[in-house]
Symmetry: C2
Subunit: 653 residues, 2 copies
């Protein structure tokens, strides 16, 4: 056969591939590559949808997951929520058509975004069991619920309705999805229970009920009535918008002038900024966006980088927060009684490709955590626990790229997953989390995101190291102290006996040899109160005075308990005690109590000292020179810390 | 706002998402997550397409890649081939529409399969530069080439033709793609050059020319005229077909009877097998496939597992082969002069989800390879080197899951990537490689595939261990030997002097102390010939005889060079010498030459001995009890080694 025949023969085989066919053939891409994972993915997609719907509607979520084992590997999965429901005319499309949804064309921090998740699960279910999905939905306006049985027609990617009816449902509103699918139910780290537990921890305003096959029902109770504000929709930020995207937006815009187009279609472009951009780009502000030329669009893009534009709004992001991160870590660490809960680090929001994102990191270390294996990594994206594909994830890359040896953690060659008794939690939230695949189990290692996670890890690493240094320093001084205390008296006795003189008082000698101010902290928890005591021992030969600084959760601080009263309390939580002078060999105490926190929320005082040579202090760090700046950074979330990522200088306009 | 409002408000936002929009927003999923990777992905997609087209047309591929740096990060990529060309009416669809292609609905081992690759690159190019792609194509039937400039309309996923014309082209046939894109050109491991080199090695029948920015042209010359047979299309194998798929096939089949349907739509179902299946499933063979009920389809699926069905045909698979695997390894190992090229392992084909696949593994060890870092892993899928996403790949999972400590390789805790001077190559070929994402850089860890790779790695590990054991044993014996040889004569001399007697001959005493038969092999390579010498030293006190067994590439063996003549040569390559009895302290030699192999193809003789207590032999292994079986397994590729994966007993029908 000649080449002519081949081109023609190949031409005959050319065909369009429907998106359903594509994902049916590539079901592993959607997270359905094994029966175990397929089951988990289906639950995740349904629960993520339920939580998103409730949050959008401002309803405290109440989600029930039920898993029944039928014959062999066939399961019936039912997920029911108390969300706003779906209007009848769209039920079959939302569930029976891939790439159909409400969140793709808007930018907001939601769990689902693509319109692929739940319809993917239904596609997988019908592929592996041949059975239709059953959807029941009721909006508050409806008197009865609408129920539809449907298949997905993979050739056309359209719902094929098998039957529909109406039924009485006592709920005010809600949605129930019932899917038959092939699965395997397992327990352990990558299980439905773990996913639900992980979800419950970082979504404490949700009540999640799970009926697993052959077991009792488990309920993760709601522990907070505070629903986060509904996710804000935002416009794309000018940084990171691509030229092709800009051209298309211009072409599709209803604005009649470029200046208006810039203001309406992008976030953070005011009239003044739009004018500056047009000037800089040498594009007339009254030009019609539709007729924008490639070269003009390019110049606009360059002008975005030259003109000062505010960082993207961050009120659209909803981080987990320190308290829940500690709680999440505690849940996993369980009975291992770690030595140290490193104070979690929340980075200021940053931007990639026009999308704001924010990174949080928490670390626990020591105790009975297994020492002789790689550290455990807990990953979250938009408050959803990620249980698979750890290898390819931005979080993993960042952990592997940090030189942990600098923080006293074992790591062969200074690269790769460190070893030791440590658990690391990483959360990335964004109006668009860039997942490596449609299974949404790994965050693509976009440089901006890896960098932010790395900075947060390094900050946690420094905190960890400081903790370990303090501990080592104390242990060493303690040892020295005990040796000195054991030997000197005997030396004194022997010498006195030899020269036949009375035994001298050597307390001052001991302190002169030690020559440190020793700071001990002691935190106990009882009856919902943390009792904190900081004791200062002057083991030097001279009077010493110093100022103690710390950062406390003021809302939990009991003012009555403060003893002595601090010399300063700032609204940002900085508390300082200018302590009275302490004579040689004397000691003094600072005590206070916190109430209303959970136990793991306060495990160790971060103590800093000033007004004294810090090298003579054991048990507290010198007050950092950037103490003011550091605290400010925590307050001011609109300042972006990595301006080189975003272009030139940035300021509000 | 009440829940009613919410459901209605959400309903207004529900929309269909075009597949182009989807991938534009998720371009990282297609492999465009950084400028560096985007450049490589674009080259890969174009070159893979070119190679596929040439192979399908039986044309020796001649592919030219040119990369010009324009301003900033903008590049112009041009890839031109001598393939069959594309008929005019389909050019714009093939390049201007995602999910359009010739290979999705057929099953064969091709590089491209989804109709996503090259159109994805064009989508990325227009997004990042705003410029159209230019395609030129000519089939042998055409007098002039057809050239089209096009954009992809992302809202509709359809080509938008900017201009078209005809031009004279001296080629008989071929295709040229020109894309402007944002990229970053780098050298090193994940570079275009490395990808092309890796491709050239395992596709030696292709000529690849690369003009990189600001450098001379590089050509990877064709080193073989032997084009592999064009990839065979196969029908799905009954094992692994899902119920939903079976129902859909039945519904769409033009066959009028279930028995005919089974025979025409599946591979390995003969009339007899179809009848047996229908009987077992209690489905009348003359039933119309269209009306097949769910329960009947389920029973058919169960019957597939009960009735003996041949393994899938394997002539549709095209593994790389031992020779090219060694060559590929040698290229990477370069100047590190490793100690040992482990003979590569090619597994028999197996099946997942109805798709046949086959695994090959090669290992090199030692020499100057860096010892203090994780081993290097080279991954290939359908003869394409995989350079990204190592973490999530089935090949990586398998390497990490093997306990390498058992084979003498360092690995902390017996899990994870081992450390040491080792390079591992893994190739998976299949009529459908299950990639974790559309970027096609990692193979999904499907249990069947991970298992096969694991078995191949373990086999390589055993070979490595045997080599290392032999080496250690020899070194130890050598040391003992040298000590004995140094000390005994001096002892004899001293003793003789003391008792004033002549110095005795102690050669026999030495051998009695050693008490081994020592086997030395020596392979030299010169003028395209491997000269192999095996020397046997009898360091025991008695006459010894033994039979030497080895496996040789008969096509390369020079019969004239065999000295002495073997006692047996089997067509499968097994060669045996029954050696004449060897008196104590004597030695003998076996020599032969191989011609026409490349140097790295034969580095060490696998020597086995029988007819002698193997514990008395240093430098050769005892003949394995399953020697016959092991060799047979290499010959008989239709036997599947892991029947539990495939169901019950299997035999030809």
């Amino acid at each position: 056969m000649g080449a002519v025949g081949v081109a023609e023969r190949l031409a005959e085989k050319q065909r369009e591939i429907s998106v359903s066919e594509f994902f049916e053939q590539n079901k592993h891409v959607l997270g359905f590559d094994s029966p175990t994972r397929a089951l988990l993915t289906s639950v995740k997609e349904a629960v993520d949808n339920a939580l998103d719907a409730c949050e959008e509607a401002g309803i405290l979520p109440d989600v029930r997951v039920e898993l029944e084992r039928l014959d062999g590997e066939e399961y019936r999965l039912t997920v029911e929520d108390n969300g706003p429901g779906i209007v009848k005319r769209q039920v079959s499309k939302v569930f029976g058509k891939l790439l159909y949804g409400s969140r793709f064309h808007t930018w907001s921090q939601t769990r689902g975004q693509q319109g692929l998740g739940i319809s993917g699960a239904i596609l997988y279910g019908q592929l592996t069991t041949g059975r239709p999905a059953v959807i029941t939905s009721k909006t508050e306006k409806d008197d009865v619920a609408y129920q539809v049985q449907l298949h997905i027609d993979t050739k056309t990617n359209k719902p094929h309705v098998v039957s529909q009816e109406y039924e009485v449902w006592e709920r005010a509103s809600g949605t129930r999805v019932e899917i038959h699918l092939r699965g395997r139910y397992v327990t352990g780290r990558q299980s439905v229970t773990e996913y639900l537990r992980g979800t419950a921890i970082v979504n404490p305003y949700a009540r999640l009920t799970f009926r697993a096959p052959d077991t009792e029902e488990t309920t993760f109770q709601r522990v907070s009535e505070a629903l986060p504000p509904p996710p804000e929709e935002v416009q794309p930020h000018p940084y990171g918008v691509e030229i092709g995207h800009l051209l298309r937006m211009a072409k599709e815009s209803s604005a009649r002038k470029v200046s208006a187009f810039l203001q309406t279609e992008f976030s953070r472009i005011s009239a003044r900024v739009a004018k500056a951009i047009c000037e800089r780009a040498d594009v007339p502000p009254e030009r019609r966006p539709k007729f924008l030329k490639l070269e003009e669009a390019k110049r606009l893009l360059q002008a975005f980088r030259k003109v000062k534009i505010m960082a993207p709004p961050t009120d659209c992001l909803s981080p987990i927060g320190e308290r829940l991160i500690r709680k999440g870590l505690r849940n996993v660490v369980g009975a291992h009684r770690p030595d140290f809960y490193c104070p979690p680090v929340t980075r200021s929001p940053s931007v990639y490709g026009g999308h704001p994102f924010q990174v949080e990191v928490g670390i626990v270390f020591g105790g009975d955590l297994p020492a002789n294996q790689p550290v455990e990594l807990l990953r979250y994206a938009n408050r959803v626990p990620l249980l698979y594909q750890q290898g390819g994830c931005a979080a993993t890359k960042a952990v592997e790229g940090v030189d942990w040896r600098r923080y006293g953690v074992e790591q062969r060659g200074g690269r790769g997953l460190p070893h030791g008794p440590m658990v690391v939690l990483v959360h990335v939230c964004s109006t668009k989390v860039p997942f490596t695949s449609e299974a949404k189990e790994a965050i693509a290692p976009i440089p901006e995101i890896v960098d932010e996670v790395t900075l947060a890890l390094q900050e946690c690493g420094r905190r960890l190291k400081s903790h370990m240094r303090k501990r080592a320093q104390r242990a060493k001084t303690q040892e020295k102290f005990e040796i000195v205390r054991a030997i000197l008296p005997r030396l004194a006795q022997k010498s006195a006996a030899i020269v036949r003189r009375p035994v001298p008082d050597i307390a001052k000698t001991i302190t002169r040899i030690m020559n440190v101010v020793w700071v001990d902290d002691d935190v106990t928890f009882e009856d919902g109160r943390h009792r904190v005591r900081l004791r200062f021992h002057n083991y030097t030969g001279a009077r010493k005075r110093l100022t103690l600084h710390t950062l406390l959760p003021l809302e939990a601080l009991d003012p009555e308990s403060l003893d002595p009263k601090p010399s300063e309390i700032r609204p940002d939580g900085r508390v300082a005690w200018r302590l009275p002078p302490l004579a040689a060999t004397e000691s003094s105490l600072v005590a206070f109590e916190l109430r209303g926190l959970e136990e793991e929320e306060f495990a160790e005082v971060e103590a800093y000292v000033s007004g004294i040579d810090p090298s003579r202090v054991v048990g507290a760090d010198p007050l950092p020179g950037d103490w003011d700046l550091a605290v400010e950074a925590l307050q001011d979330e609109t300042l972006l810390p990595e301006p080189q990522v975003l272009g030139e200088v940035m300021e509000g306009d």
